[in-house]
Symmetry: C2
Subunit: 337 residues, 2 copies
């Protein structure tokens, strides 16, 4: 089965390539019957127009790039699912890139996509990313970018996030209402926007209630270290009675630390976290959870980007912030554990 290209079709139909092209492209100035003939044969031979040729001609790839810190993560994979849904519906393909939280890789990726491979970029920046010159470069090359979840304030471009601040306030109130006097905020990298917003919500809520001592415990990428940090903290003399975990990973680390020390959740320690895994609520009803609408974030981000790509106004859209509300904090009525 040799390739079938425009030339093949044209030859078999005794038409010129341009006519065939017009017929397939649904253009003006084409005879109805000719068009029908062309479409028929194209279908028969399963003609697939070469993507490179079309891309070269149009300077469009019909592809969007998605850059995430990691994919083996329920939140990001759900986001990608949402992106996919919208992208596919709009005829776009999805190229996925992983930074593994490395700024170096992020820069590399940014470099390597300025070659027509993608028409735009969706990105959730790595925890190491403070300077965003590499992204400016991408935008200067004419590619629209949309931030999601982890945004940078250094660039005024559209971003899609959740109402982290408000949810964090609410989550903190839950802990306070449950009687916590000594809460730990289990934190992600301090330069991450989501961490910043959640921590601010947390601190503001504490302040507003003129309440409680508070510790900030800095978590990292290494699970075992997170567990050990928490174990150390929970074994201290002033044992915390509440934990606000910035992401699920840290809640799980907390869970393991408690198990290690024989502490019971929620009897000894109340835990609350931002989470997307369906499993977390099963672990312990009180360990849960502000659910982020990952799928919706993905869809919204993709829709925004596709919009930017297709209305190729060079005019900077400026900073359009779309905030998608987290689900309210849920508690299971029936305790499982």
């Amino acid at each position: 089965m040799g390739k079938v290209d425009l030339r093949t079709l044209a030859a078999r139909l005794n038409l010129s390539m341009s006519t065939v092209s017009r017929a397939l492209g649904d253009k003006q100035d084409i005879g109805a019957s000719t068009k029908k003939r062309v479409l028929k044969l194209a279908r028969e031979l399963n003609y697939q127009p070469n993507a490179h040729a079309a891309g070269l001609r149009h300077r469009k790839s019909k592809t969007i790039g998605v850059v995430v810190p990691e994919i083996a993560n329920n939140f990001f994979s759900l986001v990608i699912d949402g992106i996919h849904e919208v992208a596919h519906a709009s005829g776009y393909h999805v190229l996925v890139y992983l930074t593994h939280e490395s700024l170096h890789k992020e820069i590399n990726i940014a470099r390597h996509i300025q070659n027509g491979r993608v028409d735009g970029l969706l990105i959730s920046i790595s925890s190491e990313t403070v300077n965003v010159d590499h992204l400016r470069e991408v935008r200067n090359a004419g590619l629209p970018i949309v931030f999601f979840d982890r945004v940078s304030n250094e660039m005024k471009i559209p971003c899609v996030t959740t109402n982290d601040y408000e949810s964090a306030v609410e989550a903190t109130h839950h802990l306070l209402d449950a009687g916590c006097k000594n809460i730990v905020y289990f934190s992600l990298s301090h330069n991450l926007s989501i961490n910043g917003k959640r921590m601010k919500g947390y601190l503001d809520a504490l302040r507003r209630r003129k309440s409680s001592a508070s510790t900030i415990l800095q978590g990292g990428n290494v699970h075992e270290e997170n567990v050990n940090h928490m174990i150390r903290l929970l074994s201290g003399k002033e044992r915390p009675d509440g934990v606000f975990a910035c992401v699920e990973e840290l809640a799980i680390a907390t869970y393991e630390a408690c198990a290690h020390l024989g502490l019971q959740i929620p009897r000894d320690v109340k835990v609350i976290c931002f989470s997307n895994m369906r499993v977390a609520p099963l672990l312990n009803p009180s360990l849960t959870t502000v659910r982020q609408p990952a799928l919706e974030i993905g869809k919204e981000a993709a829709a925004t980007l596709v919009g930017l790509i297709e209305s190729n106004k060079k005019s900077d859209p400026g900073q359009v912030k779309k905030v998608i509300k987290s689900d309210l904090i849920e508690r299971r009525s029936t305790a499982i554990v």
Copy 2:
């Protein structure tokens, strides 16, 4: 910042485009000093060779397509992580496609990639896929394919799987050794290869031990239904005392069913499953688990595909089966729950 292309570079250096091209391509027949000059300017101007033009010329996209049933799934996202690692190291980009278990979508994807967009395909087929003509078509178009995890025996092409059969035998022995007399096999779609191999291992193990009544419970894609099926089964007169869950999703459904009925795992019901989520072992020590080496599967699959692409021998490689061993069944020595 206008585009910088070969022409730009050539003009600024008073060289011809081909010389510049050669310098950048690290070809023979190029003056050392010229080369240096070219590379220097290219770096300065951040020259990125147009992917479409190169692709058109070489009939290569340096891109591999990955087709998975779903991405919001720890196993598949880990596999993609592995694929990424190898692909990136070999200079390949990764285009991800989701079928959401729909054969229709799978066929569509197969059609839409026969246009030079990808150089090869990694696929884990949907649960609806029995006939694989759409994949034959892809291969006939000259694209190498590698199956991973969920394979089809209809096509003799390389596939990367785990030792499902052996692991299932072993897992079953664990349940029998724990004293189970009435085990349920909680099954996926029957035409999935992984389900077939695991179920066969399960049944063979039972037979070999001349043991136990056994029920096959067919699970599906809808979580609530899975839970309800299991609740119904566990409420029957001959309540099963063991569950072999083909995948983690079904183990979680079982977990919820038990919780709903007030049954304790493992006291009332022993549960074992194939799993990749780090969280499952936390749920209940006895609920665990045959860990599939997802990352390794991804790496191996990608390496195999890249090999096929680069050694562009038209000769059919035939069916090369690579089996990657699952981790042994693990039990946590310390009970957490």
